[in-house]
């Protein structure tokens, strides 16, 4: 199965991401990132380049009743990049394959509610310390 993303670091090394069921996002080495190449459901690639921090999450829904009860369905996937207090968010509808680009401020409730462990990447200066 094709990996969800590939991370290219500033030191020219790379990291191959996992799949929807095991994204490996939290296994990404903690160093500065040059770009992330994200594989869209339609087969195209989406490149996020030049951000300081990156975030990825899958949004799942588990029905507690109804004909699909018990099934966990993946509905959306998000890939984000943060720079200068602005978060550029790509929200990908897994079923329709539509992509919505949303700009958030860092202090927006949606962004503040995200798990801080999920932000990866390091400033070059931070890495030198």
């Amino acid at each position: 199965m094709k990996s969800l993303y590939t991370v290219i670091f500033n030191d020219k090394s790379s990291f191959i991401g996992g799949t929807f069921s095991e994204t490996k996002w939290l296994d990404i080495p903690n160093k500065s990132i040059k770009r992330i190449i994200y594989s869209l459901p339609n087969g195209d690639n989406l490149v996020l380049n030049g951000y300081l921090k990156y975030f990825h999450m899958c949004e799942a829904v588990t029905d507690l009743s109804g004909k699909n009860k018990g099934k966990t369905k993946l509905e959306f996937d998000y890939i984000m990049g943060k720079k200068d207090g602005i978060v550029t968010c790509y929200k990908i509808n897994i079923n329709t394959k539509n992509i919505e680009k949303i700009l958030y401020k860092e202090e927006d409730k949606f962004i503040e509610g995200l798990n801080k462990q999920g932000w990866i990447g390091k400033e070059k200066e931070e890495e030198k310390k």
Binding site: G66, G70, T72, F110
Partner: protein, 211 residues
């Protein structure tokens, strides 16, 4: 991937999952199901799976005052019997338990929709597209009791219940733990003199994210 397990309390609704004396039923969501009912001798705790006729005879009847549906029963397929969800609608904290086996990327939330399309709330029970009129009321009890005579928040469509009390995502599990729990209490309240009797189903679902 973080997984969700739903549990309902079958013991003391003042006892959290994992505490001494706790008695929760883990739902096999594929075969088990929840029934909101006025109850009857056949549709009651300990009885076997009710027939459609028995369910029809135990439907709540609209009255001149707001009516809280009296019982929430879990049909436990493996035991072939109905189990009362203890504490439903009462000032009890540990009633519906949402267990996560890992971190989440954002705060999990409880939602109600017409069906598994998750895109409409046309049913009367869900307020006919007006979320605040939903009969389904829920309260987050992860941190505290809901309070006596709690009203709860109507949930339907984009009117949702945050399950971590607005405190955001769940962190990684503490060493030695296999799950972390969020709690809610849920009830169905039929408005007084509601003029559209109906046989309706709706779905409850939990939306969550993982990294």
């Amino acid at each position: 991937m973080t997984n969700l397990i739903l549990r309902t309390n079958k013991g003391d609704p003042d006892t959290a999952y994992g505490e001494t004396g706790a008695n929760y039923i883990t739902l096999d969501l594929v075969t088990d199901y929840i029934i909101w009912t006025a109850g009857s001798s056949a549709v009651a705790d300990g009885q076997d799976e009710p027939t459609q006729d028995e369910l029809n005879q135990a439907y709540p009847i609209i009255t001149t005052s707001d009516l809280k549906v009296a019982h929430c029963l879990l049909y436990d397929y493996s035991a072939n019997k109905l189990e009362e969800v203890e504490g439903m609608g009462l000032n009890k904290r540990y009633v519906f338990c949402f267990s996560f086996d890992g971190a989440t990327a954002s705060e999990p939330q409880l939602e109600a929709w017409d069906d598994d399309g998750h895109d409409s709330v046309d049913n009367n029970v869900l307020g006919v597209e007006t979320g605040e009129d939903s009969f389904v009321k829920a309260v987050c009890t992860t941190l505290s009791l809901p309070g006596a005579d709690w009203a709860g928040d109507p949930i339907a469509g984009t009117d949702v219940l945050l399950l971590n009390n607005g405190n955001g995502a769940l962190d990684e599990l503490v060493t030695g733990e296999t799950s972390q729990e969020l709690y809610a209490n849920i009830k169905v309240v039929i408005p007084a003199n509601y003029d559209t009797p109906a046989i309706e189903t709706f779905i409850l679902c939990c939306r969550y994210t993982y990294m």
